[in-house]
């Protein structure tokens, strides 16, 4: 993988996995999101920053068609998702993976059934194959031993990793992470970020990651996953990952869309305040 010192905000973009156009939504009050537009290119990781309650999770749900906007469109894999019926959206959503803020694991199912949930709905897939793929996904997140456990017996960090395994098992073409490290201790957060980096660098899956932890965002920019050592490695000084860029929301508006270089040199007072 090559690493550039002056990354472009639209790196290697030949086509777009996601295109958000003029998205606005309000819930019985002032607008939560106003006129939001941006794109996610193949292989690109976009980190969505912003204070708590600014509409980051709402934006993620809009992109996956889980809620509908008041105005605007989202093109997911080229399809206008708000022009589609709910039953047509299920097939499209099956091509994406989403990690929810509080994991949203099915508490009445075992880890095996949670991770293999999509596969279990397909009667054409044999139980043995499901078991194998679940074990592979759990090994990817380092939780092979939790196969038969219930979510209630896992720690917060383990639940988050199981949620990542569930999102990855069907080899998604696009990933949405909603505050995957929120509320976790620094060590567990770093483990989760390493997993996200592994998916980015090993499978080149495009993603949109919501976080309000700058440290996580910067780690994703300044490190890459080394398959040989099986861990993340810091890039040489001055280099950053060219496929990782930033978005920032403030009071429902997209106030920043660009690279790490642009972010740290931004004159926007809110960006400066957020970084400091």
């Amino acid at each position: 993988m090559s690493h550039s010192t002056t990354p472009s905000p639209e790196p290697l973009a030949l086509s777009k996995v996601v295109e958000v156009r003029h998205l606005s939504i309000a819930f019985e009050g002032p607008p939560v999101l106003q006129d939001i537009s941006f794109t996610v290119a193949p292989g690109e990781t976009r980190i969505l920053l912003g204070a708590a309650g600014v509409g980051k999770s709402v934006l993620l749900k809009l992109i996956n068609g889980l809620i509908r906007p008041d105005k605007g469109t989202v093109l997911l894999f080229g399809d206008d998702i708000f022009a589609m019926r709910e039953d047509q959206l299920f097939a499209l959503r099956a091509r994406t993976g989403m990690v929810f803020q509080e994991s949203a694991l099915f508490d009445s199912l075992t880890v095996r059934d949670n991770v293999g949930y999509q596969l279990l709905q397909d009667p054409g897939i044999a139980e043995e194959e499901i078991d194998t793929r679940v074990r592979q996904a759990l090994s990817f997140v380092g939780l092979a031993e939790t196969f038969a456990l219930y979510p209630s017996s896992l720690s917060g960090g383990m639940r988050r990793r199981v949620a990542i395994a569930r999102a990855l098992i069907n080899r998604p073409e696009f990933l949405l992470y909603d505050s995957p490290t929120g509320g976790l201790d620094p060590v567990t957060s770093t483990n989760i970020i390493e997993l996200i980096m592994k998916e980015r660098d090993v499978h080149a899956t495009p993603s949109l990651l919501v976080t309000h932890r700058l440290q996580d965002a910067f780690t994703l920019c300044t490190h890459h996953y080394d398959e040989e050592s099986g861990s993340m490695v810091k890039l040489p000084k001055g280099q950053v990952d060219p496929n990782t860029s930033f978005l920032m929301l403030e009071e429902g508006n997209l106030i920043f869309n660009g690279s790490l270089h642009d972010l740290v040199h931004s004159d926007n007072p809110f960006v400066r305040e957020f970084l400091e």
Partner: protein, 280 residues
């Protein structure tokens, strides 16, 4: 000289806003009620329609049949048995005044099969299952499990609601038969052991009194009750908002609405069937 009239505000300007507010509130309530009825109708129609288009989750139908049917058997059996017993106790005293002790079996069987069996089963199962459906689905909504299911490409209506709906309709039918049977047995128990009457006479009059329209009436009603329990329980569960407090609220609304609707629909169906079948 004019005097202000008691009970009426002398200043028209101050009454108008109050009247307008009351009218607006009434208008809003009426619109909200109509909207809820519309949403419920669309929800129920979608749940019914899902059976005729794949994917259909047959395993969930069996699972729900076990939870609703087998799980409710004991409460239905006990409530049927004791209701039949109470009917026999109450009726024996009244029938004795007319020298018609021998008609206790007829009274109990007709009352249980035509009315009390279906209604009682509906209300009992509603208390157990409409509440569990509303709280289970409501908890899944507030913990984003429903959103997660949708994000994984699985339709919660097909996976969660449709199996509950059809299983509940099918199981209510059989549970009502159980309630009817144990109601008649309960009546027989009281007749023989407490009223010291002839058991053979009780069971033979209970059997002879029954006509085909009575049985039809008793077995049509649970189909409606089953539909009401599952559709109302799932409807309130799936539209839960407001965290754990909202789950509690949805559960209460589901049980109250389902119980009242069961009795209301029972009245309508009874009236229709009495007209159609000519049961006197």
């Amino acid at each position: 000289m004019s005097y202000p009239v008691l009970g009426r505000d002398s200043n028209p300007a101050s009454t108008r806003p109050a009247e307008t507010m009351a009218l607006n509130s009434l208008d809003l309530t009426a619109k909200q009620t109509l909207l809820t009825v519309q949403e419920y109708s669309l929800f129920a129609w979608k749940a019914v329609r899902n059976l005729f288009k794949p994917p259909v989750y047959w395993t969930d139908f069996l699972l729900q049949s076990d939870i609703i049917g087998v799980g409710s058997t004991s409460i239905v059996l006990l409530s049927g048995f004791f209701t039949g017993g109470v009917l026999a106790l109450q009726s024996a005293a009244t029938l004795a005044q007319f020298g018609a002790n021998g008609l206790t079996g007829r009274f109990v069987s007709l009352t249980m099969i035509r009315e009390l069996g279906p209604v009682l089963t509906g209300v009992m199962v509603s208390g157990r299952n409409a509440s569990s459906m509303a709280s289970e689905l409501g908890s899944m909504v507030v913990t984003e499990q429903i959103d997660a299911m949708r994000a994984l490409g699985v339709d919660p209506m097909r996976k969660l609601v449709t199996p509950r709906l059809y299983s509940c309709v099918a199981m209510l039918f059989f549970l009502t038969i159980v309630a009817d049977a144990f109601g008649i047995i309960g009546g027989g128990f009281v007749t023989v052991f407490l009223n010291h009457q002839n058991g053979t006479q009780y069971f033979s009059t209970a059997w002879e009194a029954l006509r085909f329209p009575d049985v039809v009436q008793g077995l049509v009603k649970p189909l409606f009750s089953g539909f009401i329990i599952a559709s109302i329980g799932c409807f309130y569960g799936m539209r839960t908002t407001g965290g754990t407090e909202g789950v509690g609220r949805a559960t209460i609304q589901a049980v109250v609405t389902a119980s009242v609707l069961i009795i209301f629909v029972d009245f309508i169906v009874t009236h229709l069937l009495l007209t159609l079948l000519g049961v006197g």
